[in-house]
Symmetry: C2
Subunit: 357 residues, 2 copies
């Protein structure tokens, strides 16, 4: 196939081993076997074990598979919030997470800052009745990252509330201490370089207790993708429904590939590529780093304002050289570009991109 | 890869063209392109157009993609039932559909018959307040089929109620007149021979009106996979979330293959293979057709009671000849076998199976 480097922030370029894993999957009948049989249970166990190793997920955290991170927004609210959620909003996706809670008739309070800005924790007033704090660690629409130290500070201030982290377009990059959050989720078409159609939801026993207490009160927490259903099926290395078996298989294989490479090396390489690109954007005329504060600049989704050219112009120019960058999101579609910096994207492609800039 | 014929009722054998379509998908970057761009919109439009042709879906029916038919059970209740649903139950899957409505706190009434039996329409009392009648046209757990004439009779008796048809393991086999139902759904790992991870939900404007009226009343109908969200995104040939793009692509390609073969020929071949297998089961000692009434015997999932051997024995014997039949479901795991009769399963494989019986 023609080599094109998709630097779009999701769907993005496939991890380079995926085509081979797909061949093996066909040979081994991964899509044809029963989702209640031993062979699939091994695939499930392999995927979760590789993820635990890669992201240092503690034993008392459970791993559930859904069809997307979008679905997880819904499941988080249904399972972990009886009435009051609190949302940190600084872009289109954190905004949608808040809207989901409103659609599900929760008292959903938000602290919103302008796109491109991070959060000022000292201005944050979390109402006492809040059960659940929802934050987007990496805002794919604006390229704003929330520093882990801010997440830990929130936990220290609110030990009684559940903290759920949307790491859709950053996991497994952040070297996160799971003991300081309650749940984290992501989708596989970002940093894992996999076909879309799978979301990964990681949650601890406090989340299980919350969902079960809602059930005990006679509240509805959904049907097949509830936390109790994910846990009881997960204990058998199974899923409640017939899942995207191929997606789970590929996730396990790519997580294994990433483990072989080493998460430390992957993080270092991510840092290198991000530094290279940010340095170039800072000094080249016609480009501005969109996120003002350095501490809030995402390492995995790098956003720049364009001066004197549209994103369509820039993308067209890059495509001539086999590179597809992302346009801005929503209102910034024409005036910004978004560059994914995922494990599958090589230094060489970044060096080529920097030359084009 | 080793040729093994999976006659399991889902996941089942891949449609034989799928490996080639997967190669093309990789070459054309189907998993890497944007789900908001023209290339994906064409994939979406192609899939829905091919489905409309294959199943004679009228224009005033919409097609929405979810992650599974299990998900559609949930979305049907959330979007189409304010308080009162009615369920025809004759096996594990129709039972779960009813349970979903209970979990979602609806007044869900069921008319239940023993596994292996069809419904006696004259004994059916549908309460007047029923908004939604849920029926399972083909019960994958028991091999009981509901004749289309019974569905049409229900419509005639209850023109004011919405009728939703679970055709998970039969579509596109039934030559259904869509004007006599309101909604139908299926999953792709059955008759379409595709990797699991995609559900197809077909619904008419009455369903849209119902969901919108619930919204107007201030009720929650969910978040991203509501009927209004599926319709408004579908009009742009898009989905609310980043979907299983590969699954939608493959569905379009296989539906096109089936259209090329012709739905009439596929139905005839299905009838031939079913007749062959039922005739053999009827006359061979050690086997009994599980569904007593001929009119209620599924053409696509054929279930037999075993006498004098366990399903494990039978399956082991078949595996030696490269055939994998399905075991019974739930309580019938050991005492029954279930044979899928899907478009990908050839006459030759059925003739081989019949020889083994």
């Amino acid at each position: 196939m023609t080599k094109i480097s998709f630097l779009t922030p999701g769907p993005s370029e496939l991890y380079y081993t995926v085509p081979d894993h797909l061949k093996t999957a066909l040979r081994d009948h991964v899509t044809e076997i029963s989702h209640r049989g031993k062979a699939f249970q091994q695939i499930f166990a392999h995927a979760t074990a590789q993820l635990r190793e890669l992201m240092a997920i503690p034993d008392h955290f459970h791993i559930g598979f859904t069809s997307s991170a979008t679905e997880i927004w819904e499941r988080v609210i249904e399972n972990l919030c009886e009435t009051h959620s609190f949302h940190l909003v600084n872009g289109s996706f954190s905004k949608k997470f808040h809207e989901f809670a409103v659609q599900l008739k929760r008292q959903a309070v938000k602290y919103e800052v302008a796109p491109g800005l991070g959060f000022a924790l000292d201005q944050l007033v979390v109402p006492a009745e809040t059960e659940l704090i929802c934050l987007t660690q990496n805002e794919t629409s604006t390229g704003v990252m929330m520093p882990l130290s801010d997440i830990y500070a929130l936990r220290q201030q609110h030990p009684d509330k559940l903290i759920v982290v949307d790491a859709v377009s950053s996991a497994p990059y952040p070297d996160l201490d799971f003991s300081r959050i309650d749940s984290l989720f992501f989708s596989v078409q970002k940093c894992f370089g996999l076909p879309a159609g799978l979301g990964v939801w990681i949650f601890n026993d406090r989340c299980v207790a919350k969902a079960e207490s809602m059930l005990t009160k006679g509240l509805s927490i959904g049907t097949y993708h509830t936390i109790p259903a994910l846990v009881s099926n997960g204990q058998k290395n199974e899923t409640p429904e017939t899942p995207n078996m191929l997606g789970i298989y590929l996730l396990g294989k790519v997580a294994e590939d990433l483990n072989r490479r080493g998460i430390k090396a992957i993080r270092q390489e991510t840092d290198y590529k991000a530094a290279l690109l940010y340095a170039t954007l800072a000094k080249q005329p016609g480009y501005e780093i969109a996120v003002q504060q350095a501490a809030h600049r995402s390492k995995t989704v790098i956003v720049a304002n364009l001066v004197g050219q549209s994103s369509a112009d820039f993308i067209a120019k890059c495509k001539l050289h086999g590179i597809v960058p992302g346009a801005g999101y929503g209102p910034f579609k024409n005036s910004q570009i978004r560059i994914a910096n995922f494990p599958t994207h090589s230094r060489e492609v970044f060096e080529k991109l920097v030359d084009l800039i």
